[in-house]
């Protein structure tokens, strides 16, 4: 037989909330963890109905739940456990993982509830979800923008040459000794068409012309951790080890966090792919700093990149992956350059994996 004081000590030591109620729902025990969880003192709850700890919609039905269980013996929570919502003294709702056991005592049926606070877990999941959806949206928008900008830029050059050649040729045709009217007419039409193409490019460029990056002070270490976390989500199955060696959580950098995140997630994800079939599956993010730059390096234990592969790496539409357009790295580099930095790959070394270096300027550094 356990003494009462011992029982209380157990109850108060428990990390999880513990509540015992009778078959009317009257609270018999409300331990210390519960006091923290709900903001009520034990004395304020014991003797009252447990429904005071629930949002009104659930509280209404609680008595019925108990009656149903006692009558039918069909358990909805007892012995199963489920996620429920509790209500704090200040009215906020608290996600709780609840498991319930029952006991027949001399004084009747009693239920014991063990409550685990899910707020931290929920917040974390929610944060990750927001991060992920931001990233997906930004990646899409950026991919479209960058593709439009890349096409506009690539086509611009030949179009400019074409236009000037045509105009020069048209002028020559016109000033020739015996002007060929048909030829002049055709040249003028060709000029008009080149002009039309130019206008399309112009419109496209106006459409995709993005704003300069929105740079705000961001904790770099935290940003890297977030990126690793985002990639880990997709790599739970294969035992790739992702980690960061940068732990200066006070270090702040002016950057467009979503865009930089996009680059890093892209690099880390690529690195994860590269080590998948390797004996050692490791991806390490490290940071080096000098007076004017910060270098974020993503190193993997994959097969490395040959010189041949490196030469095509940053060109759009040359990817070797089955999925995607192969514009990831091209976009990443152009984002880095928009920040006044760059994205580079370290030269190939026999027996070593690949290392990508994201360089960002720190001239606008704000040390917190």
């Amino acid at each position: 037989m356990v003494s009462t004081s011992c029982l209380h000590s157990v109850l108060d030591t428990a990390v999880n909330g513990i509540i015992v109620i009778d078959d009317n729902g009257t609270v018999l025990i409300f331990n210390r963890a519960c006091e923290n969880l709900f903001g009520y003192k034990s004395a304020e709850v014991v003797g009252k109905n447990v429904t005071m700890l629930m949002p009104p919609a659930i509280a209404e039905k609680h008595a019925e739940y108990i009656r149903n269980y006692l009558r039918t013996g069909i358990a909805k929570v007892v012995g199963i456990g489920r996620e429920v919502v509790g209500r704090h003294r200040d009215g906020t709702e608290i996600p709780i993982e609840l498991s319930v056991g029952e006991a027949q005592t001399e004084s009747g049926h009693q239920f014991t509830g063990v409550l685990k606070d899910l707020r931290a877990t929920k917040e974390y999941e929610e944060r990750l979800r927001v991060l992920q959806s931001n990233l997906v949206t930004m990646t899409r928008v950026n991919a479209l923008d960058e593709m439009g900008a890349a096409i506009a830029h690539e086509v611009n050059q030949p179009l400019t040459a074409l236009m000037l050649y045509l105009q020069t040729a048209a002028r020559r045709a016109r000033s020739a000794g015996d002007p060929d009217d048909m030829m002049i007419n055709l040249m003028d039409k060709a000029v008009a068409e080149a002009e039309r193409a130019g206008q399309i490019i112009q419109r496209m460029r106006n459409f995709v012309e993005r704003q300069a990056p929105q740079c705000i002070g961001t904790g770099l270490a935290e940003l890297i951790d977030d990126c690793l976390e985002l990639v880990r989500v997709g790599h739970e199955a294969d035992d790739v080890e992702f980690h960061s060696t940068f732990v200066d959580y006070d270090y702040q950098l002016e950057l467009d966090s979503v865009q930089i995140q996009q680059i890093l997630v892209n690099l880390i994800r690529n690195a994860g792919e590269a080590v998948k079939d390797q004996p050692v599956k490791q991806v390490v993010v490290s940071v080096e700093r000098d007076d004017s730059n910060v270098f974020i390096k993503v190193t993997d234990t994959g097969p490395g990149l040959s010189e041949e592969a490196v030469s095509h790496l940053f060109k759009a539409f040359t990817g070797t992956k089955r999925r995607g357009l192969g514009i990831g790295l091209a976009i990443s580099r152009s984002i880095a350059q928009n920040h006044g930095g760059d994205l580079l790959v370290e030269p190939y070394e026999e027996g070593k994996g690949a290392t990508f270096t994201l360089r960002l300027p720190v001239k606008q550094e704000t040390k917190s």
């Binding site: 611009n156 050059q157 236009m163 000037l164 020069t168």
Partner: protein, 115 residues
Amino acid sequence: MGFVVIYIVEDDVSVRDAISRMFESLDLYCTAFADGESFLSHASPRVDDIVFVDLHLPGLAGSDLIEKMAALDEAPQIVAISGQPLWKIERDLPKISPTPVVRKPLKEQDLLAYV
């Protein structure tokens, strides 16, 4: 006054050639360079000359080249050419001397306006 020389600093071969041909066909004297370094070591533009500079150059950046030239006592007329988005042009161009910008894709009229 002597005859005006038109300088072109442009890394794209076809664009460089097309601009040169266009000026030549109008009997204007022009000479073209693929990058800022070779321009600086071979050309000595005078105050009446015109220099068209592409902002997007390998090596010495177009904006740096413009800044260098604008700092000369008898600086030639400088016109920037760019296919970049506006905000990038604005970021890159030196603030000290207002430089006109011609944006690609361009027509001969765009260039001839400065000659």
